[in-house]
Symmetry: C2
Subunit: 504 residues, 2 copies
């Protein structure tokens, strides 16, 4: 990318010194929340200067009436002042040698004629002064690698390789929450607001060349530079996946988008075709965006569309089959030797075909049945439904059951009490076994280069904190709540894999 732009954006994600213009002592105000966040994450690493002409100090730091009064150079400015003051403040920034800025202030281009005029003036000043800026009308940004946060939110996020841009402040918060809930690691995120200066396309180009970003995601209401975007997408998608939630699909939705950030969203059918041709993975919902991004961060790309299903319950086998077929995925025909191998672990009543239903076996044979499916040449991807993490769930049930058994156990002979104790301990052994099996599974996944998509039915919040689920999360393996969501992930992986093969 253009060298000057790259320098400006490097500064955006990792500045040396920051002026917070509009920093406030009043809790609840944007100028307070943002300033607290910057102090909390950058103090000791970067120089921070609050700018406020009505007070001497902001949260214990000396305040300056204007950025011009700061006795040192400042490369990055955060602007949180009433909209009519943004142009003179931007002028001050230019005068003080600022390279990049973030304008949080709302009420500019997205509102009426006056707001548009003011916004144009801000752009003119910044361009003349060589400043590139995010916003206005946005929620801030962050970079977990450099440890810089301007989003007014006090949660340290899991570090990872997914970088995002969102043309909506509300969605910025929603993306952060959703990623946290699903255990996906973030790299960078920008709430791009009205995109008066820096566009979605700029962030995407930056992420494309950024080594710490492996997967790029975006929430888009409209493209400001459609042609540039498609060219970028074509180039980028050969190397890194681009997952885009493009909204405004319906005519009324497009109108709503226009009054939101002023983005023009075009006919959806045209847009959809163009995105597909450029290798973009299109997500319909925010959860889908994380479902597929999370998978792309860790899972291998499948060679074809043949899916092997291993299920703890027959009903879930049916629903998973339905979901796969609806998406054009093929149910793999298992090789006879695969059937034979599985046959040694399951009772005779199992169906002897894909989906492999564990028919309610009380022994824990999930992994013994999983290995032959992975090894089978007829299988490209594997979906495992409701039988990984069982040891964790059994322990949760055990604890519930224990309190029920207790009163009866009191009245029992010692032999029964001992038996109960052994059975209860058996679940700890089962958990240790499963932890080992997960290591083997990860190894299998990489060796055979086949994605293994896990549906964690009944994975309660208690279960989430058990060692098995923690181990999966630490290794970047997501678990999906429904067969439909898991099948969609496989569908996207298959399509992207095909795109990579065809375009390289």
């Amino acid at each position: 990318m253009n060298k000057t732009l790259k320098k400006r954006m490097d500064c955006l994600f990792n500045p040396e010194s920051i002026a917070v213009i509009g920093a406030s002592n009043v809790p609840g105000k944007w100028g307070f929340n943002t300033y607290v966040q910057i102090l909390g994450t950058s103090l000791g690493k970067r120089k921070i200067f609050p700018v406020n002409n009505k007070t001497e100090e902001v949260l214990g730091q000396k305040a300056y009436p204007s950025i011009r009064d700061i006795p040192e150079p400042v490369d990055f400015a955060v602007i949180i002042v009433p909209y009519q003051h943004v142009p003179p403040v931007m002028q001050d920034c230019v005068a003080h040698g600022v390279k990049s800025a973030l304008v949080i202030t709302a009420g500019l281009g997205e509102v009426g004629e006056e707001g548009k005029k003011v916004e144009k003036e801000v752009v003119r000043i910044a361009q003349q002064g060589g400043i590139r800026f995010v916003g206005p009308n946005c929620m801030g940004h962050f970079d977990t690698t450099s440890g810089f946060y301007t989003t007014g939110w006090g949660q340290p996020l899991k570090q990872g390789s997914l970088s995002l841009v969102a043309q909506s402040g509300g969605f910025t918060g929603h993306l952060m929450q959703c990623g946290m809930d699903m255990g996906v690691g973030f790299n960078k995120l920008v709430s791009s607001g009205n995109e008066a200066d820096l566009h979605t396309e700029d962030y995407l180009e930056y992420y494309a060349q950024d080594h710490s970003t492996k997967v790029i995601g975006a929430y888009v209401e409209g493209f400001r530079e459609g042609e540039r975007f498609l060219k970028l997408a074509r180039e980028t998608s050969k190397k890194k996946p681009l997952v885009i939630m493009k909204v405004g699909r319906t005519p009324t939705g497009s109108m709503a988008a226009m009054s939101h950030t002023g983005a023009l969203s075009g006919t959806d059918a045209v847009c959809d075709a163009a995105l597909k041709q450029s290798g973009v993975i299109r997500a319909d919902e925010i959860e889908e965006l994380f479902d597929i991004s999370g998978a792309l961060l860790r899972q291998p790309l499948p060679r074809g569309n043949r899916v092997g299903i291993l299920t703890g319950g027959g009903g879930h086998g049916v629903v998973t089959t339905d979901a796969c077929e609806r998406l054009g995925l093929q149910l793999a025909k298992l090789a006879p030797e695969t059937i034979d191998k599985i046959d040694t672990f399951l009772p005779p009543r199992w169906s002897k075909k894909n989906p492999v239903d564990l028919v309610g076996t009380t022994q824990f044979v999930t992994y013994q049945c999983l290995w032959p499916i992975i090894e089978d040449d007829n299988v490209d991807s594997i979906i495992v439904v409701g039988c990984i993490g069982l040891s964790a769930m059994f322990k949760v049930f055990r604890d519930r059951l224990s309190s029920q058994i207790e009163p009866f156990l009191q009245t029992m002979p010692d032999s029964v009490k001992q038996q109960a104790e052994v059975a209860m301990q058996g679940m700890d052994v089962m958990e240790e076994e499963e932890l080992k099996n997960i290591d083997i599974m990860l190894d299998y996944m990489d060796r055979y280069q086949k994605p293994i998509i896990i549906i964690g039915l009944m994975a309660t919040h208690e279960a989430k904190h058990t060692p098995v689920f923690k181990k999966l999360e630490d290794n970047g393996i997501l678990w999906y709540p429904t067969p439909e969501r898991a099948a969609k992930v496989v569908g996207h992986l298959v399509q992207y894999s095909r795109h990579i093969r065809d375009s390289n």
Copy 2:
């Protein structure tokens, strides 16, 4: 319904005395888990007799070698013995005057020729002896009204008015977990297994006449009595909603269903049309089943398809608009007086139309803007996105922020500390305000007979335990995680409302 069948099913859901044939002292076995569950929920209310010919006692209760040896009458039997022993055990039940039974044992009709033969024999014996039974190959059942549980799971469930039948053991557990997670109250649930004797149709007919059941739900792989089902559905859906997740939509899915419980599932398109004509609400996913069932339990039915949207973020307004339009819902055109009323609470930059975007106002004006939308004659349903429950979320953020502010606050003058304290307390006031507003909202909902569907973005698990979310849950108001799921609920309510009007 038929009087004898009704009596048998009354006994199934609320027996006086229970024999557990195959009750076991060995933790982990079905005969142990089920027996513990029955003891835990029925001891003191019902007579419980363990039957086991290898031990003197089961969990402190005297065991009988056969049901014939029990010196008192028994009206309900739970059978958990190896499959080949089921026919003689059923014969014993007949001899002892049992009225209804539950056969948990697997390996019968769903397996091979031999299993089918044994199952037929069991049916013959039961029919001759006047016993009606659930199963075989199932997970048990429960009734929260009578307090009777045979599902091997130690969780007390929230009592409510939703009754279910599931043709899959795995889905039975999944339904229970999903309902618990979403805060939906259960009435009855049967895991119907192979349906050798009692069919899905029998349970539905029973629920239709059951006063404690307000909404009926079912997971169906195939109908054994298609004609009877459709007749039942037509009659029932005029009075109570019937929400059905019918799987086996694709050819391969149907085959998987056949090898699971032996159900024949027919062509999906035919099935879909028949269900629709009979007033059935068809859910595609398990979450959708609870989304709409939960709404039907509490929300009024809308008069038309015009939706008013109130949103905390513009992006979410766009996505919600898209989701509504895709489902054929209409975005309501707000009356001029509605716009005027809202105008007094929002800054001039708001769009002055539906969706009503609160444009990031820091004052808490959600409810002031909600009332005029409910009052508007052009609005039939309301979707509220990400702005109800804000006080709860702010408190969560406050606690996160507090720990960040703490070190800076130490260095500050007292006046700032006091200011911070007031701001923090302000959130408690906000919460109290919101609790009052929720009461008013429930009142509005009932007075205007308009559903209010809440999307709880960023509603973290911490937020779920706050008074605001508890109050919503206690009043049967669900909150939905995505605009798409909320829009689907409105779509179903509109269709069902139309069906009720057309058919009555």
